[in-house]
Amino acid sequence: MHMKVAKRLHPGRVFLPTLVLTSVWPLMAWGHVESGQAGGFLSGLSHPVSGLDHVIAMVAVGLWGAQLGMPALWVLPVAFPMMMAFGGMLGLIGIPLPGVEIGIAVSAVVLGALVLGQVRLPLIAAVGVVALFAVFHGHAHGTELETGQNAMLYSLGFVIATGMLHAVGIATGLIHRWDLGRQALRGAGALVMAGGLYFLWGAVA
């Protein structure tokens, strides 16, 4: 029975109906949009992808997780948002974090280097590295709510976008199973590291 259902729900058979559904789905008419509320979600959603320093570090977390395999593959994306939000909370309640921009740039350098070198740290150490950098990212980016926007929706959008960046990294990192993919992944780590050095130069100059 389960096999039969699974066979019927094969991705290839579900794709076309899904495509039809999304093509003909009518858009809702919002005559009186609460621009502040909706804007809060969109602002939060777009914020993590608007800064390249944030983007490369988030993607690198996913790449490194994919290289490390289980259980780091899922522990890192679970730990990161929570520690990032913790950093954001520190910023919001007024606890300063010195050298935030430097910390963000260093995160890209270190994470890129870890991917480049295919470094396999023990799980607890890997989580510690990612959690430390997550605090810097949260402190810098999680606190930038524009006036009049809904804080809850901003936070929701911010966290979802960050999670999606991790997912991009993990999905890309799946090429690790092939020899050529492993080399490409290390190349991606080198790019992240180079980007981090560029941002580090900007932060300290």
């Binding site: 076309l16 899922w74 994306p77 948002p81 909370m89 809850m152 929706l153 966290v159």
Partner: protein, 200 residues
């Protein structure tokens, strides 16, 4: 395209066909009911904990799912009615955020709680938010059908979410549920910070 694909495509087109706009729903007498149902869907603060409780119940199996859906819905309805009669005035936003943050932690940790414990947590969450919803409805002098709209939406969302998670066995899918829990925690922590700043 095979027969199943044709059926699903036809069903999709029928579902997506635009319906007439009901600009004056008050004529049907169901306006407050839909207002209530829509209120929940547009209230992320209520939704996050509701989804968190349902995810936790789903992770713990079918019995936990059944008990939680019943306990959550009934407590939401009962305290909602109490709130409409005896509204509470204190601002409990902190407590509301803290409640969904705790549920998110339990989902992210895949906490091995008994079905009764999960249902109890769901009941506490439902009781808190039912009281808040009922009090808000009393302040607006809203009709009781608004509360029924909210509670029906609560039941549908909890039921669908828990039912979607109960059969999940694949590791990646259970991990996805736990990641969702970590997102709830993250939003809760950021909200605590915003509340400390006076935002809402």
């Amino acid at each position: 395209m095979n027969r199943l694909g044709v059926r699903v495509s036809v069903a999709a087109v029928l579902l997506a066909a635009p319906a007439a706009a009901q600009a004056h729903l008050v004529n049907s007498g169901l306006g407050p009911f839909y207002d209530g149902a829509l209120h929940l869907l547009l209230s992320p603060g209520d939704l996050l904990g509701l989804v968190g409780a349902a995810l936790l119940a789903g992770l713990r199996g079918a019995r936990a799912g059944r008990l939680t859906v019943i306990a959550l819905t009934m407590s939401w309805l009962l305290t909602g009615m109490i709130g409409m009669r005896l509204p509470v005035n204190p601002d409990l936003t902190w407590l509301s955020v803290l409640s969904f943050l705790i549920l998110g932690v339990l989902v992210a940790a895949d906490a091995r709680l008994s079905p009764v414990a999960v249902a109890s947590l769901g009941a506490v969450y439902g009781a808190l938010h039912g009281l808040l919803n009922g009090s808000a409805l009393a302040a607006m002098s809203a009709a009781p059908s608004a509360l029924f709209g909210i509670v029906l939406a609560v039941m549908v969302i909890a039921l669908l979410t828990a039912a979607a998670v109960v059969p999940v066995r694949a590791l990646w899918a259970r991990v996805a549920v736990r990641v969702a829990g970590s997102w709830v925690v993250a939003v809760g922590m950021l909200m605590l910070g915003w509340l400390a700043q006076g935002a809402s």
